[in-house]
Symmetry: C2
């Protein structure tokens, strides 16, 4: 009714820890790509992100989680690789669960925005 422009609500969420932002959708995507590719190198390529950056994100996650989210394998056949720990798998699941609940709520709660 007379509402000519469409506005919608967007929500971004992340897990916070004492030292600041700990885990958001960016790191979750990285975790998923590590799971998919079996290495930080290939996960980074997949995401068109520099290996250095990806490696640093993994390092930070591992240090700040109660237990590491990514297990790194050094040397050996194929040079090594990386894979998710139980905690890493869990982080993905929990994050998406929370995200879905909150985003669903936001959409349901808000309509007919007018400015």
């Amino acid at each position: 009714m007379g509402n000519s422009k469409k506005y919608s609500i967007e929500v971004r969420l992340w897990i916070e820890e004492a030292e600041g932002p700990f885990l958001g959708i960016g790191k979750i995507w990285l975790l998923e790509n590590i799971r998919k590719t079996g290495s930080i190198t290939n996960a980074a390529k997949e995401m068109k992100m520099a290996y250095r950056q990806a490696w640093q994100l993994v390092e930070e996650m591992n240090l700040r989680a109660e237990s590491p989210l990514v297990e790194k394998l050094l040397g050996g056949k194929g040079g090594g690789g990386a894979r998710l720990t139980e905690a890493g798998e869990n982080a993905i699941t929990v994050f998406y669960e929370i995200e879905k609940r909150i985003k669903d709520f936001a959409q349901k709660e808000v309509q007919n925005l007018k400015f």
Copy 2:
């Protein structure tokens, strides 16, 4: 129980419009400071933001809202100033209402995070 680290959920939200992000907490703060100080110049100072930047944000808001959120007064005694329109006042109210509902929900919904 054995949970040594504290994690919490943080939520950021904004109003989206056809051309992208339209109104988030940053612009809301700017609106509030314009209301408080009566000018873009002083609002910017208050927020330690460059006038240029503040002016651009106001311009963008006004163009993309159905009706302007800020009324600008040119020249005259004191050089002019800026004040919120009805729509501007409304935007602040509505934004905080939505934000509160969603953040409350997020807090209530999520506890005992463990990573």
